[in-house]
């Protein structure tokens, strides 16, 4: 590990070029694809300082002459690749520089997860690059990762979205914020992960069987949101990003600054977003405005070659309006809402005001991380982190109480982790670690309402070991993990305090095999088993959930959920013209926990409400993710994708509730092979793309559609969304400007989505045009 780090360092900083006072130095080198290691021909190099440039030849080589001793920033660009800036300190005799570039998302070679700090894994993972993240700055974390096959989102209106991977979400997947398990309030469908994706340089979705090294549940997927290490260069650099969206008149800015001085490396990142009411094709979604203010600070210091330490602080603060028409008093109101053409309280114009019903969420995280290299083949890694999460939900209330939240929860958590890695031999690696997590969740009694989620303290202690071995064309991985979870709960039931104490033992194990048959085809197979104890909300939630017009009742007899998952993946290309990637998965559950109306009404002062309770069944979820890419020419590309998914309740032999539906996507893109000159400016990497996505109708049973004895809501029809995107890069002296344009739902289609809770009340978003400007300096 240290070796590869050193290499990286050497490549970037040490070996560069000629040394002389008379500005006769020459810098030569080559540019290769980071994924395939193939040379990249005809890539453009531009030296910001001298404002001169060159191109690589057919073999990916380049030469820049007549340079003086000093510091240079070189911008690399190439068709189909992300532009990249490298820093070179020119102070030696002519040296060869090996530079790398990576192809944009979904050009299959990019999607292999080989992090700098970890050995490869057999788990299937896909990564969203920094450019994809900045180009989609207007999106939330969940909608951003929806770009990956097999990932969908559960929404509550347009502002609240959480990711679903292979049919699993919430408590069943892990979200790691800079290596720390996100400890937020992930109770139901109406809570988004409290993370600003613009802080990250990389978002990875591990779609495999069990991500054993991450704390959380290990039933399947993990989403890793990672800011990259600060570039080791002494100059101040930054990035500014602005976007405007027509739907909701949203504006957003993000700014980053970073520098690696002799003493310390630092990076700051800030985001501000504000949006007014969004719009469907026919009406405004009154009170769906949002506001977000985030900040992050990253510090890095290398105390010695062996000891590296970094510090991270982030704060995420958001206020989310909830469609006013979703607030209902009882099932009669609900029934009326289903039949109305547009939701009640709809206004004729968009407003930036955010009134109750709304959510206010603040999440703060601090993390201290140290890595100690024992020798060239071993390192020890220690992380300590604390998180504070405050969540307040507001409803329209009587007697001037609308300013008082109806739910107010504070969650404090501590996380500790020690990891040890040993490259026992060049082909055998051992990774092992222990983790400890403490969570204290408390209701603030200012609400004057009964809490839905009880107060509790949870302790989780875990240990894991993963062994990986490379043998010829094969790579094997085998690991196991144990988690102990203790829950101390003090719940208010029928206005009395009741206490519960639980202890759970969870075991997970996973094995995988990757076989790289040739440079053009590889296979991967994974098999994993994991258990997940019921979460606090599944066990003890109690009360009227106004947003869903139901009385939700936890079930403290729930047993641990057990899951066996297997995946089979194939990835390859034919003469690099046609590339493909397919992942088939099958997951079998014992005691799968789900919530469903019991078909029973409870009478209250507002009339009768359906009772929802948590149940368990045996289930299976299986599917297939396929992505294919055909390069008609280097400029012209066709793409087609499929996410096929089926969820089944195997006890009752019927469809499983709340599972995403199968979707098809197709796209074509054209990138101009040469920059386009307008006046003195050159528009590089000028790209146009059209993308179409077709989402099929969900299969449900009559029982699942029946909200109450007299109300049945069938799943929405299948729908089709057509999107257009365009982007270009312009070099402006020492800075680089990227302009992006997007139009989503071009046909202004009226649709509702099965996984959007707002579908009971209103249509989904209409056409939206946006423009983005990114300045890198």
């Amino acid at each position: 590990m240290l070796l590869s780090k050193l290499n990286f360092f050497l490549v970037l900083i040490l070996p560069l070029v000629g040394f002389s006072q008379n500005c006769e130095l020459t810098l030569t080198g080559s540019i290769k694809d980071i994924g395939t290691n193939e040379p990249i021909p005809y890539a453009t190099l531009f030296i910001n300082e001298t404002e001169t440039g060159t191109e690589t030849d057919a073999d990916g080589h380049f030469e820049l002459s007549k340079l003086c001793k000093g510091h240079y920033h070189i911008t690399l660009s190439h068709i189909g690749c992300e532009s990249k800036k490298v820093f070179i300190e020119l102070n030696e005799s002519t040296t060869d520089v090996n530079l790398t570039m990576k192809h944009s998302i979904h050009d299959l070679h990019d999607v292999v997860l080989t992090g700098k700090s970890a050995p490869p894994t057999t788990q299937i993972a896909e990564t969203l690059t920094e450019q994809h993240i900045s180009d989609n700055a207007n999106q939330s974390l969940a909608t951003m990762v929806e770009a990956i096959a097999g990932v969908s989102t559960i929404k509550n209106g347009s502002g609240i979205a959480k990711p679903v991977v292979h049919g699993l979400w919430g408590n069943r997947i892990n979200i790691l914020n800079n290596g720390v398990p996100q400890s937020g309030q992930q109770w139901g469908a109406d809570h988004s992960p409290e993370i600003d994706p613009l802080v990250a340089n990389k978002i990875t979705v591990v779609k495999g069987t069990a991500s054993l090294e991450y704390m959380g549940t290990n039933l399947g997927a993990s989403i890793l949101v990672e800011p990259e290490k600060i570039e080791k260069e002494p100059h101040l650099h930054g990035k500014a990003n602005y976007y405007f969206e027509s739907n909701g008149l949203s504006n957003g800015v993000n700014a980053q600054l970073q520098q690696y001085t002799k003493k310390i490396g630092w990076k700051v990142n800030g985001t501000f977003k504000k949006s007014a009411d969004k719009r469907t094709p026919d009406y405004f979604l009154t009170n769906t405005g949002t506001q977000e203010i985030n900040f992050a600070l990253q510090l890095e210091k290398e105390f010695s070659d062996k000891w590296h330490t970094d510090f991270y602080f982030s704060t995420f603060n958001t206020e989310l309006g909830i469609l006013e028409g979703t607030q209902i008093g009882n099932t009669t109101d609900l029934k009326k809402a289903f039949t109305e053409k547009e939701p009640q309280f709809t206004k004729n114009e968009a407003s930036f005001d955010i009134n109750p019903p709304k959510q206010q969420v603040n999440h703060h995280l601090v993390k201290l991380h140290s890595k100690y290299f024992i020798d060239f083949s071993q390192w020890l890694d220690v992380t300590v982190s604390a998180q504070l999460n405050n969540r307040e939900e507001f409803d329209k209330r009587r007697g001037g109480r609308s300013n008082l939240p109806v739910q107010s929860l504070d969650q404090f958590s501590l996380f500790f982790e020690t990891k040890y890695l040993n490259k026992i031999s060049p082909s055998l690696t051992l990774k092992t670690g222990v983790q400890f997590n403490y969570i204290n969740n408390q209701n603030d009694p200012i609400t004057s309402t009964l809490p839905l989620i009880p107060d509790y303290i949870s302790f989780k202690s875990s240990a894991y070991t993963v062994l990986s071995k490379k043998q010829g064309k094969s790579f094997f991985e085998l690991g196991a993990r144990y988690d102990n979870n203790i829950q101390n709960v003090a719940s208010v039931i029928n206005r009395r305090v009741e206490r519960f104490k639980n202890e759970f033992h969870n075991f997970s194990t996973s094995g995988g095999w990757v076989y790289t048959a040739t440079d053009h085809i590889s296979l991967s197979y994974n098999l994993g088993y994991a258990t997940r104890n019921p979460a606090i909300n599944e066990l003890y939630s109690f009360g009227l959930h106004q947003g869903v017009a139901g009385i939700e009742q936890g079930n403290n007899n729930l047993k641990t959920e057990k899951a066996l998952k297997t995946t089979l993946g194939i990835k390859g290309d034919v003469h690099e013209k046609f590339s493909f990637e397919a992942l088939a998965y099958f997951q079998k559950f014992d005691n799968y926990i789900f919530i469903q109306p019991r078909g029973e009404l409870r009478l209250t002062i507002r009339g009768a409400f359906p009772l929802f309770d948590y149940k368990q069944t045996d289930a299976q979820i299986y599917g297939l993710d396929v992505l294919t890419n055909y390069n008609i020419s280097p400029s012209f590309k066709l793409q087609a994708g499929l996410s096929y998914i089926i969820g089944e309740d195997t006890t009752k032999n019927e469809a499983l509730v709340f599972i995403p539906t199968t979707n098809f996507s197709g796209g074509l893109s054209y990138e101009f092979p040469k920059p386009i000159s307008i006046g003195k400016k050159q528009f590089e990497n000028f790209k146009l793309a059209l993308r179409n996505k077709y989402i099929t109708q969900s299969r449900t049973t009559a029982e699942q559609d029946r909200i109450s004895p007299e109300i049945t809501v069938t799943p929405p029809d299948a729908y089709n969304l057509l999107d257009f995107t365009t982007s270009t890069d312009i070099q402006l002296n020492k800075t680089r400007l990227r302009i992006t344009g997007k139009v989503t739902n071009i046909l202004n289609a009226t649709y509702r989505d099965y996984l959007n809770r707002q579908r009971y009340f209103a249509d989904d978003l209409g056409i939206n045009a946006s423009i983005g400007l990114q300045l890198t300096f």
Binding site: V434, T604, R606
Partner: protein
């Protein structure tokens, strides 16, 4: 060798953590969570119907433990045929061992509230006798008139933020009112000669 030592250290660390977790009562939630006063809840509705002569009839709804929990108790009543009653509605929150008057809160926000009455018994009519600040009906006080004998019920609904200018709403028709239902209670009624 070194590796073994480290592995051992990690194991013991994990055991140490696990046993911390096992340490019983030190980790319980302390102090007891506060059981909040549910200020907004309506636990009792008393609909008092006073005839010009004779004893008043009181229709009652009571659900002291709020939403969920135990079922409410509802007391209906017997009315005389062809009689005019003065109706007065009282809404209370009796949950916290004391009685809070919710009727006052509703009168304070009268533009934002309206009561809607309906009866399944032929000949029973309910008319508003009060007005809000905008001169629209509110429905805390009413006149209830009975016709011939019959059995059925009277239903009352309290709506928050109804659209009082929608068609028929001022006349007490709920169809176009919209808003959010805050109370929806049905009393069994027997109209006798």
């Amino acid at each position: 060798m070194k590796m073994k030592k480290i592995a051992l250290a990690l194991c013991s660390l994990s055991i140490a953590f696990t046993s911390c977790g096992d340490d019983d009562d030190n980790n319980a939630v302390k102090p007891d969570p506060v059981v909040p006063n549910q200020e907004e809840v309506i636990t009792n509705i008393n609909f008092t119907l006073t005839p010009t002569t004779g004893t008043p009839v009181v229709l009652k709804f009571e659900d002291l433990d709020g939403d969920g929990g135990n079922a409410p108790t509802i007391t209906g009543g017997t009315l005389k045929a062809n009689t005019t009653y003065t109706g007065v509605l009282e809404l209370l929150n009796n949950q916290n061992g004391k009685s809070e008057n919710v009727t006052e809160e509703i009168i304070e926000e009268d533009e934002d509230h309206q009561l809607f009455y309906a009866s399944s018994i032929k000949g029973v009519t309910i008319a508003y006798t009060d007005k809000d600040a905008d001169n629209n009906p509110l429905g805390i006080t009413t006149t209830v008139t009975t016709g011939d004998a019959g059995m059925g019920n009277i239903n009352l609904k309290l709506r928050h933020q109804p659209n009082k200018s929608a068609e028929g709403v001022k006349e007490g028709k709920i169809g176009n009112a919209g808003g959010v239902t805050e109370a929806d209670v049905t009393f069994d009624i027997n109209v006798v000669e």
